[in-house]
């Protein structure tokens, strides 16, 4: 009985490996296992080489691993590229039709088991389910929920195919890949993007504008799929500049409003971000990072846009930036982002990346009753004649009203303005308005999510990371030989409150920043706040996600003094 398995399905784009992968993942989660999915795909629609890796465990799994227990090869290239990663007691399953003679390969007669190529996915699912010992009802149920709505006619056929594949696999008598029973409650199956989507819905998002861009396109598309049900307006804009300006317009009009994009698209939004800052209009901006500069590697992962997001937009205005580490944090922090955007009346950012955006995990279902009311503007004021959108207040925050819903007037201006919103070149007012805008920093400062610490009380070495590297780093400290490595993870990367973390930096012998970029951008931010003695960096920028093994290898090298 295995406690854990890493299953990699590989093939060309267009061979449907995501469908097998997702069905399998769902079946595993419904069977009570923990999963961690890593998707790797090329920037093309057919051909090339893509993989879908499901790591499944009786206990929590939180990082990609390179060692493969079961390799499912839909084409020859997959065997060639990945066989050296298959463990000694691992298994390579391949389509019978792949002409490849090599010891120890198990052939699956996809063509024989499926009435047509459309059903080959389900053959894979059936085979794997039997192999690892899932109850057949589990993959069956998944087929029903996934195909049931879209194609009720094909459900029965699929189940038949599943059955024969399952039976065929049992007949093969391959032992040693059955998973131990798990006690986990079956939860949700969510990617980082899904976490953002559900968070936005829970926060009452009304409007989302976007221009398609990997890896964030899925967010507006999922919101749109529920548009009718929840009354969410999602508009595909002509370009990213339109998207951000639409979102700001909708926010002015009273909708909880957001955009989702990636680095290049976000670069185009910079002027719009500044508009949100100047006009004090709440907007939530999701930036799913991928390797740059320019078009870079459109379907891979990186954490290279922190600096850009931190300073995007000309001029000076406050902002908050979250860097969620997993789908749960995506959910929680998206809700928080909407609330904070409204309370600080400005842009709030959520930085994800392709790895997190596409990585499915099993998630304990959210308790929606726990979610506190998200702040919103108003439609009433005591003295409509005197209402001023930018009234000077002690906190810098002025009451925000929704235009046309009452007899007051709401005037918003991208130029410097009087409290009533009209354009001015009065330089004393200018100074007051700058002060007003910057004062709102206090709203953000008062509500910073502190970093989370994991590990021994007095670690000798401290790993520091942010965003999606949480899982890999967590596994790294758990797997570290000596029990003296701690981890500090930041899910909010701006603003920072030194008091939240300075003590963590004082005692360890070595502090190692773990980031998926080449510059160590977050390290620079932290070192602005606290003096870090003996700081090191573990960086990755080949487009693949960080993983525990990668971290530990380099940690060892660092500890041996090699840099």
């Amino acid at each position: 009985m295995r406690k854990e398995l890493n299953i990699l399905i590989g093939g060309e784009a267009g061979q449907g490996l995501v469908t097998v992968g997702e069905l399998l993942t769902k079946a595993l989660i419904r069977s009570g296992y923990n999963v961690h999915v890593t998707q790797s795909y090329m920037s093309r629609i057919r051909g090339g080489h893509n993989t879908y890796s499901v790591r499944v465990g009786v206990n929590k799994v939180a990082s990609p691993v390179s060692a493969i227990d079961i390799l499912v090869a839909l084409n020859k290239e997959t065997v060639e590229l990945h066989q050296h990663n298959v463990t000694s007691n691992g298994l390579i399953l391949k389509d019978q039709n792949i002409g490849l003679k090599k010891e120890g390969l198990v052939n699956i007669p996809f063509k024989d088991l499926a009435p047509s190529s459309l059903f080959e996915n389900v053959v894979g699912l059936g085979f794997l389910s039997a192999l690892i010992g899932l109850d057949k009802s589990m993959p069956e149920g998944c087929i029903k929920s996934v195909f049931g709505q879209k194609k009720p006619d094909v459900v029965q056929k699929n189940i038949e195919v599943l059955n024969s594949a399952y039976t065929f696999a049992q007949g093969q008598k391959i032992d040693g890949f059955r998973l131990d029973k798990s006690r986990e409650e079956p939860g949700l199956m969510l990617t980082g993007n899904d976490g953002v989507v559900l968070g936005a819905m829970a926060a009452g998002v009304g409007f989302c504008a976007y221009y398609p861009m990997t890896p964030s396109t899925g967010i507006p598309m999922s919101l749109n799929a529920r548009g009718d049900e929840l009354g969410i307006v999602v508009e595909q804009a002509e370009d990213e500049i339109a998207a951000i300006n639409m979102a700001i317009g909708a926010s002015y009009a009273g909708a909880r409003s957001m955009v989702a994009t990636s680095g290049g698209g976000f670069a185009l939004m910079c002027e719009g971000i500044s508009l949100a800052g100047m006009t004090e209009t709440p907007v939530v901006v999701v930036v799913g990072q991928r390797p740059g500069p320019a078009t870079g590697l459109p379907t891979r992962t990186e954490q290279g846009d922190l600096n850009l997001v931190l300073y995007a937009g000309h001029g000076e205005f406050p902002r908050a930036i979250f860097g969620p580490g997993n789908p749960e944090q995506c959910f929680d922090l998206t809700i928080k982002a909407f609330d904070l955007a409204e309370r600080s009346q400005g842009p709030v950012f959520i930085l994800t990346d392709q790895y997190l955006a596409d990585s499915y995990r099993n998630i304990v279902p959210f308790d929606l009753s726990e979610i506190k009311e998200v702040a919103r503007p108003h439609d009433q004021c005591s003295d409509p004649e005197k209402y001023e959108r930018y009234a000077l207040t002690d906190s810098g925050v002025s009451p925000r009203l929704v235009p046309t819903l009452g007899p007051y007037l709401v005037v918003l201006d991208s130029d410097e303005h009087y409290p009533d919103g009209h354009i001015t070149e009065d330089l004393e007012i200018r100074t007051k308005m700058v002060d007003k805008r910057l004062k709102k920093q206090a709203v953000l400062d008062a509500d910073i999510v502190p970093p989370e610490y994991f590990g021994p009380d007095k670690p000798e070495k401290l790993l520091v990371c942010w965003g999606s590297t949480l899982g890999p780093a967590m596994e790294a400290i758990q797997n570290a030989d000596q029990q003296n490595v701690g981890l500090l993870h930041f899910s909010q990367v701006w603003p920072l409150n030194k008091e939240h973390f300075k003590d963590y930096f004082s005692s360890p012998e070595k502090v190692v920043f773990v980031e998926s970029n080449a510059w160590g951008q977050f390290r620079t931010l932290i070192e602005r706040e606290v003096r870090v003695e003996n700081a090191f960096s573990i960086l990755r920028y080949d487009g693949l996600p960080m993983d525990a093994g990668y971290i530990l290898d380099r940690l060892d090298m660092l500890l041996q003094g090699r840099k």
Partner: protein, 282 residues
């Protein structure tokens, strides 16, 4: 009863004699005629001399970025389909920096009215060629004459079958305010391109220049696309004014998921509904 005074009196930053003054008056007149109260309208603009216009109206104002009035207006209208949303900005703003949004707005056909103060020049930045400046027109920035051909907004809008396409002239205020009323009342996206003399920087297309050329359309059938297309070419010795084209493409708002007319502000889904969605991820 709404009156002109309801829309306030403001000191403007415009040159004396500028065509913007009369456009502002025509707008006010149109609003009164439509009996729109100040708080029912949202005026959206970009940046430029023309784009300051909403500041001289007592109403709701969204004065956004140069070139980006239309996307902002789109978001506003989608957020609150019941509001009367009118976009007012310059030729540079709408056809230059904002050219892509102009195309998209026509395609979307949201119930917005776009008033372009078309002075065939960049006014606020002191007289560079705009997209509508004639070829060969000399400016400080184009000392050898403007090398590009002019953008013909009416021709493009008609070619794209924009729902309502008209041309007005700042020098004919009653005619103009009537066009504005028609534009606002017509469903879908409406364009009124308004010839606006810039007394300071455009010494070619002066008040007299326009005056000598403009004539009111009489027997034109705005439902006739081919005729409108032909008319759109008439732009030089004679300049036709009036409604050039009127279409009946379906309006975008009809396809919105939420009940038309209801502001998104009021549309708050119940926790039950959210819960159902969340459960579908199990």
């Amino acid at each position: 009863m709404v009156s002109i005074d309801d829309f306030g009196k403001f000191e403007t930053a415009w040159c004396p004699g500028c065509g913007n003054h009369s456009i502002l008056k025509s707008v006010k007149k149109a609003l009164v005629e439509m009996e729109l109260s100040p708080h029912e309208c949202i005026f959206v603009s970009g940046i430029g001399q023309a784009a300051k216009a909403p500041h001289y109206l007592k109403t709701n104002v969204f004065n956004g970025l140069h070139g980006r009035a239309l996307p902002a207006a789109t978001g506003i209208k989608l957020g609150n389909p019941g509001a009367t949303v009118i976009v007012q900005s310059g030729d540079g703003c709408n056809y230059g920096e904002g050219g892509n949004h102009f195309l998209a707005a026509i395609r979307r056909n949201i119930n917005l009215t776009l008033l372009v103060h078309d002075n065939q020049i960049y006014g606020l930045t002191k007289g560079q060629a705009s997209p509508t400046t004639f070829m060969g027109h000399k400016t400080k920035a184009q000392p050898r004459g403007n090398p590009s051909g002019p953008f013909n907004p009416v021709a493009v809008a008609v070619a794209m079958q924009a729902n309502f396409v008209a041309r007005g002239f700042a020098g004919m205020m009653d005619h103009l305010s009537d066009l504005i009323v028609q534009a606002v009342r017509h469903p879908g996206f409406s364009l009124v391109d308004i010839l606006q003399p810039c007394v300071t920087f455009n010494k070619v297309n002066t008040f007299t220049w326009y005056k000598e050329r403009c004539y009111e359309l009489k027997d034109h059938d705005p439902g006739n696309w081919s005729q409108a297309m032909e008319l759109s070419r008439e732009w030089g010795e004679k300049i036709p004014l009036g409604v050039m084209f009127r279409g009946n493409r379906p309006v975008f708002e009809e396809k919105l998921p939420h009940p038309t007319g209801e502001p998104l502000y009021y549309n708050i889904p119940s926790k039950e509904k959210i819960k159902k969605v969340v459960q579908s991820y199990a």
